[in-house]
């Protein structure tokens, strides 16, 4: 694989972002953000709708060109070496369909062939996301949770060193969410660096080593969950509501069990 002199995959960070900007017409979706993602961590991007999370991910995934700034992903400059970036990363896209009328095993077979992976079968990939009995289903026949797991299977077909997950648990029931968390943690334990976006604070707290909070195209906070909370407390913040040792989420799980439902 040819590597350009300006970017070798030896960077200390898995992702390096410097003053990245992106506009859609008059809408400034990303306004000069900078951050680094360490190797092996789970990095979360939080923020309200329209904050620019998806846009940021898409630039890093070499799906979209930035207007300015620089981004190194897995050591490659996304604007100079999009092809190498794509080979090094796994991508799970927010709300996009797979080819219809193609079976899961056929889609995975295609992914394995695009990335020229040997010694791995579609069945093994399906097993990793507990979809082995859906091998002959079409993606349009899957439930929301199954579909999310399948997109992760597609994204890890070539054992990438870096995985981007855009809202991996949105729309899932509590069991499916927790199951997806397990899956993500397992991937991290295998050494895969993960960058994900989420709207769920419990998810960010449970999964992420570090969190960037985005709003209106800017990163307004970046730290570990603990330090973010501590910082808030240090500033004199007190919660008005009494903190309970359990949440409604725990009640739901207690009542309906931990196993996957779909």
């Amino acid at each position: 694989m040819p590597k350009s002199a300006t970017s070798t995959p030896t960077s200390q960070y898995m992702v390096e972002v410097h003053e990245l900007t992106k506009s859609y017409g008059s809408v400034q979706a990303v306004r000069g953000i900078s951050f680094n993602v360490e190797r092996g961590e789970i990095f979360g991007i939080l923020g309200p709708n329209g904050a620019g999370k998806t846009t940021t991910l898409e630039i890093l995934e070499a799906l979209r060109k930035s207007d300015g700034g620089m981004a190194l992903v897995a050591g490659y400059d996304v604007s100079l070496n999009p092809e190498e970036v794509k080979r090094s990363i796994g991508v799970q896209i927010q709300s996009a369909n797979f080819f219809d009328k193609v079976r899961l095993q056929e889609l995975l077979g295609f992914a394995l062939s695009v990335y020229q992976v040997r010694g791995m079968t579609p069945y093994q990939l399906l097993e990793r996301v507990q979809l082995q009995d859906k091998a002959r289903s079409y993606p349009e026949q899957l439930s929301g949770g199954q579909l999310q797991r399948f997109s992760i299977a597609m994204a890890i077909a070539h054992s990438p060193e870096l995985l981007f997950l855009d809202e991996p648990t949105t729309g899932l029931d509590p069991q499916a969410r927790r199951n997806t968390w397990e899956l993500i943690k397992n991937l991290r334990n295998e050494g895969i660096t993960i960058v994900l976006t989420t709207h769920y604070m419990d998810e960010a707290e449970d999964l992420c080593d570090r969190i960037a909070i985005m709003d209106q195209g800017k990163i307004i906070a970046l730290d570990t969950p603990e330090k973010l909370v501590q910082g808030l407390l240090d500033s004199g913040f007190t919660k008005t509501r009494e903190i309970r040792p359990a949440t409604l989420d725990d009640v739901f799980i207690q009542l309906t069990g931990k196993e996957l439902r779909d």
């Binding site: 799906l63 991508v91 896209i93 996009a96 077979g109």
Partner: protein, 398 residues
């Protein structure tokens, strides 16, 4: 390079699977051209044994009317399923009259009624033509210089296509012969019909040429044109884009799948025409295959260009239909090209469909060499250039 093509091939496989698993698409893209070929093929091969259901009402008792009736009966194409003749009826009624039951005037009434009934059946579609010889048909008059004369009345239903034309030309033939017999002279001027395509040409090859070109055309303007906009809309292309897959690979894979399916369709149609309808196989099969391939590349390119300029699948559908029906109109399907003003005639020669039909017809009928097809290859090549340029320039993943 090999890896590049391998991925394209794999994609072509996925795309083919999708197309074939879609029942509606399969019926339109494969079923329709096949059905059109089979239905029209059955019709064309039957022209020899084509028969028009005919009623003959002969009210005349003059000798020449019997000659007409006899001549009509000897024409295979006219199947006389009802006839009422004065002489037959007269016989029946004469016998009846002997037994003193019916007056002979009733014959006339019965025959009048026979015509009424026949016309009613013509209106119902039960009969194709009604031939009426009036009472005075064949009578000798001074106006005819002492020769028998009269009018044969032919009743037809104009709504039923060419049946009227066929019956008229048969009757004209009969009249010509009888006229010659009456006058006792061979007519000095005669009409002989010959085909430009040569005498061995069967109508099936004309029908086949048209519908196979149509099949390839539909594969482009309906199949290839809508698939990419659809995948753009659902985001399936974005997913592919996230993989290390180039636009070229997507294009090659998708066009390859439609191309293979199109050539497969053509092969099945050719086999059907040859085996079921006894169409002669093209002499130069290599040229036939090569021409089909180049035509397919062009027609799929047309679909690719449409997919690029369309903002949505439904828009692609509309563009496809416009191109489709405009091509058929300019191809002379509804109004024969000979009625076109010169400018339209010139345009029709350069639309994508025309060189394909012309080329196939040449290959099937005249057995030409490569150089004889240069004009067609030229126009097709030009369209390939135009279509793929537009397609590549307007291509996008989302």
């Amino acid at each position: 390079m090999i890896k590049y093509l391998k991925t394209s091939l794999h994609l072509a496989k996925l795309q083919s699977i999708r197309i074939l698993r879609d029942p509606v698409g399969t019926i339109i893209l494969f079923g329709l051209p096949m059905i059109l070929l089979i239905v029209s093929g059955a019709f064309t091969t039957n022209t020899d044994s084509l028969s028009l259901n005919t009623a003959l009402v002969n009210e005349s008792n003059h000798e020449i009317s019997f000659a007409v009736a006899e001549a009509l009966e000897s024409v295979g194409m006219l199947k006389i399923i009802a006839d009422a003749q004065a002489q037959d009826e007269a016989q029946v009624f004469d016998e009846a009259a002997v037994s003193g039951e019916t007056p002979a005037a009733a014959i006339e009434y019965a025959l009048d009624y026979a015509l009424e009934r026949a016309l009613e059946r013509l209106r119902n579609g039960d009969l194709d033509v009604v031939i009426h010889l009036p009472k005075d048909f064949g009578s000798v008059s001074a106006m005819n210089e002492g020769l028998p004369g009269g009018n044969i009345e032919l009743y037809i239903d104009e709504t039923r296509g060419q049946t009227g034309d066929i019956a008229r030309s048969i009757l004209n033939g009969i009249i010509l012969e009888l006229n010659q017999a009456i006058i006792g002279v061979q007519m000095p001027l005669n009409l002989v019909q010959r085909s430009v395509l040569g005498d061995g040409v069967m109508p099936i090859s004309i029908v086949f040429t048209f519908f196979s070109a149509l099949g390839l055309f539909m594969m482009g303007v309906f199949g290839a044109a809508t698939l990419l906009p659809m995948d753009r809309k659902t985001g399936a292309l974005r997913r592919l884009h996230a993989m290390p897959l180039s636009g070229g690979q997507l294009l090659i894979g998708t066009m390859l799948s439609f191309g293979i399916l199109a050539l497969f369709l053509l092969a099945v149609m050719t086999a059907t025409a040859v085996l079921a309808f006894r169409m002669p196989l093209p002499e130069n099969l290599v040229l036939y295959g090569f021409f089909a391939l180049v035509s397919t590349v062009m027609l799929l390119g047309l679909g690719f260009a449409i997919s690029g300029i369309s903002k949505s699948p439904s828009q692609a559908d509309v563009y496809g239909q416009i191109v489709f029906f405009a091509s058929l109109a300019l191809g002379g399907v509804w109004v024969p090209q000979s009625f076109f003003p010169d400018i339209l005639k010139a345009i029709s020669r350069f639309i994508p469909l025309t060189p394909v039909i012309d080329g196939f017809q040449n290959i099937l009928h005249r057995g030409p060499g490569f150089t004889d097809l240069l004009p067609q290859f030229g126009v097709i090549g030009l369209w390939i250039l135009i279509c793929y340029t537009i397609g590549v320039k307007t291509f996008r993943w989302e």
